[in-house]
């Protein structure tokens, strides 16, 4: 079955659009490589671009379950597998580029993976993503049944390993990885809250609204602790910087803005499209649908 069909074998514009979009960063990187825009270190630049999109796809894949509930947009689930598989494809390209950069010397590659801890961690995440991608065909979903869901919960630690790899390879500027850690915190926090407080898969919006500030506060504290431990920066001054623009837009502020934007979007959606009476908030999906 082609990836742009939904479960009724109808063309899904959503799936088609996402399918195409997933190719764009890779093709863009390839084109940039071809015209020399990645000079003077094209392989290194390509490793970085593809790595960035790998982690972005992982985070986007993790965001689909919360967003489909908050936005009452059940069809969003249709693209989750695609995004996850794309993350796996991108990390394989990321890794192949690394192997190319090491002049295909597999002994060196193996040695480096063993001795550079950030590569060991990245490689573990890569293996994990491959396992998940290999078990995401319809056939495997059916065959594994309940164990499929258990297995695919591995995506949470895999994402964490990927984030640690990203953070560790950063030289000095940890702005973007810090933001991703904050978003990851939000996504995991959502799952904890949903497991406890969700009603028919729907977490009340006030929980969603509260989650943003909490994730932002954790980001701020985590960042301050990191700068304090790593660079002996005064804790309070780092936290204080979150309240000014003097050092640019701090990661905690970005996390807060994203958290609030999601809550706001959920509220707008709830107001403009109240759930019809006598029906659950979600359209029921056909039985062949993989467990969410």
């Amino acid at each position: 079955m082609y990836p742009w069909y939904d479960y009724q074998r109808r063309l899904s514009p959503l799936k088609l659009a996402v399918f195409i979009a997933l190719f764009v960063p890779g093709l863009w990187t390839a084109a940039a490589f071809a015209i020399g825009a990645l000079e003077p270190r094209p392989l290194t630049a390509a490793i970085h671009h593809i790595g960035l999109w790998t982690i972005r796809f992982i985070i986007i894949a993790l965001a689909i379950t919360p967003l489909k509930a908050i936005l009452s947009w059940p069809r969003l689930i249709l693209v989750r597998r695609m995004v996850g598989v794309a993350a796996c494809a991108y990390v394989l390209i990321h890794f192949s580029l690394y192997v190319t950069d090491e002049a295909f010397n597999l002994a060196t590659v193996a040695h480096e993976i063993l001795v550079r801890i950030y590569l060991t961690i990245g490689f573990t995440a890569l293996v994990g993503l491959c396992v998940l991608a290999a078990t995401s065909t319809d056939g495997m979903v059916r065959r594994l049944g309940r164990r499929w869901q258990q297995l695919h919960r591995l995506v949470y630690p895999i994402a964490l390993l990927a984030l640690i790899h990203y953070f560790m390879q950063s030289k000095l500027d940890v702005w973007e990885p810090t933001i991703f850690f904050g978003i990851y915190g939000w996504l995991m926090g959502y799952r904890l809250l949903a497991a406890r407080f969700a009603v028919r898969g729907w977490l009340p919006l006030y929980w969603v609204a509260a989650l943003g500030p909490v994730a932002a506060a954790l980001t701020a504290l985590g960042e301050a602790a990191y700068f304090h431990l790593a660079f002996h920066a005064p804790l309070l001054r780092v936290v204080a910087a979150d309240f000014s623009l003097q050092t640019g837009v701090r990661p905690a502020v970005v996390v807060l803005a994203l958290g609030l934007a999601v809550a706001l979007a959920g509220a707008v959606r709830a107001v403009t499209m109240p759930a019809p009476k006598g029906r659950t908030r979600f359209a029921r999906l056909p039985a062949s649908q993989p467990p969410a």
Partner: protein
């Protein structure tokens, strides 16, 4: 020995992408780097002050006569790379800081020489250049990130500055400092880093014949992004030792803590001598990418300058000499 008809940096137009095209391509790719979540607008508005274009009175001094003693084993790197591929964290953490660096005013530029010297003084860069023996040298430049340039630097031996400074015999180190001005260098607003940039050498290292103070490159005054108007070149050490835009030389008997050492002492130390056998904790230093040719070439001990400098470290042992 190379026999040259044309100066090495005069690379024929056809041999290389023109600078303008090269820069446009670099810009294009920034759009890709900025993700959907992290639209570049969030970055607090790109600070892109353009050249203040104050006249550089030293321009008419160039080119300097090449000192034939210092030759290369590889082609000179195309100037466009050296001009647009820079680590200068004062202006941003990526390599593309050339535009932002144009905000730096480089005249007047006063250099302070103080600490353990016979008589502390300050001197303007143009007066200093008048007193110094100006020449051009071809050096390799090995970045700690495992890439390298080959650059025609213009400047003068640091030993000449040492003679002018007259350090006391009790002085053991010279500590160098980059300008500090967060208004022109936005990176310096990031107070959690130990600004200003500091580097240090022992007196013997500073007096070594290789140690070169740079005022220009490729037969022209130094571009701002490369550390105008005065930077260091110590080619046997990793690039971060070659401090840019220097405003102060302070002589001291205490070993200075350099910028990167203060940040990550297990990764970047005081000595930072190039050694292929001692890896950076996160990557191997065994080989390097030659910028321009994009060849991966083996890295040499002391970046190939052992005959000049190895004796500086006779009797000293340990990996910390090499990171």
């Amino acid at each position: 020995m190379l026999i040259r008809k044309r100066r090495g940096w005069e690379i024929p137009e056809s041999a290389a992408t023109s600078e303008a095209v090269f820069r446009d391509r670099r810009r294009l790719i920034q759009a890709l780097a900025a993700g959907p979540v992290l639209a570049s607008g969030l970055l607090g508005g790109g600070m892109r002050a353009m050249a203040a274009d104050e006249a550089d009175p030293s321009a008419r001094l160039y080119p300097f006569k090449r000192n034939p003693k210092y030759t290369l084993d590889r082609p000179i790197t195309d100037a466009k790379y050296v001009e647009y591929y820079n680590n200068f964290y004062e202006f941003g953490t990526d390599k593309d800081i050339a535009d932002a660096a144009q905000a730096l005013p480089i005249r007047p530029w006063t250099i302070k020489i103080d600490g353990m010297v016979e008589k502390p003084f300050t001197i303007g860069i143009d007066d200093l250049m008048k007193k110094m023996p100006l020449e051009e040298r071809l050096y390799r430049h090995r970045c700690v990130e495992a890439w390298s340039f080959a650059v025609p630097w213009s400047g003068f031996p640091m030993a000449a500055l040492m003679a002018l400074a007259k350090p006391l015999s009790a002085a053991k180190y010279v500590k160098m400092e980059t300008f500090m001005d967060p208004k022109v260098a936005p990176g310096q607003n990031q107070f959690f880093y130990p600004w200003p940039y500091v580097e240090g050498l022992t007196i013997a290292e500073a007096n070594n014949e290789l140690t070169f103070l740079v005022t220009g490159m490729y037969g022209k005054p130094e571009p701002k992004q490369d550390g105008a108007p005065l930077r260091l070149a110590v080619p046997w050490k990793y690039g971060f030792k070659s401090i840019k835009s220097i405003v102060r030389f302070e002589f001291t008997d205490k070993r200075p803590v350099s910028y990167w050492e203060a940040l990550q002492s297990d990764e970047y130390g005081f000595w930072a001598n190039v050694n292929p056998a001692v890896p950076h904790p996160r990557w191997s230093q065994a080989s390097e990418r030659e910028i321009g040719t994009d060849k991966r070439v083996p890295t040499l001990i002391y970046n190939g300058y052992g005959e000049y400098v190895a004796q500086l470290y006779a009797g000293m042992k340990g990996d910390q000499l090499f990171r």
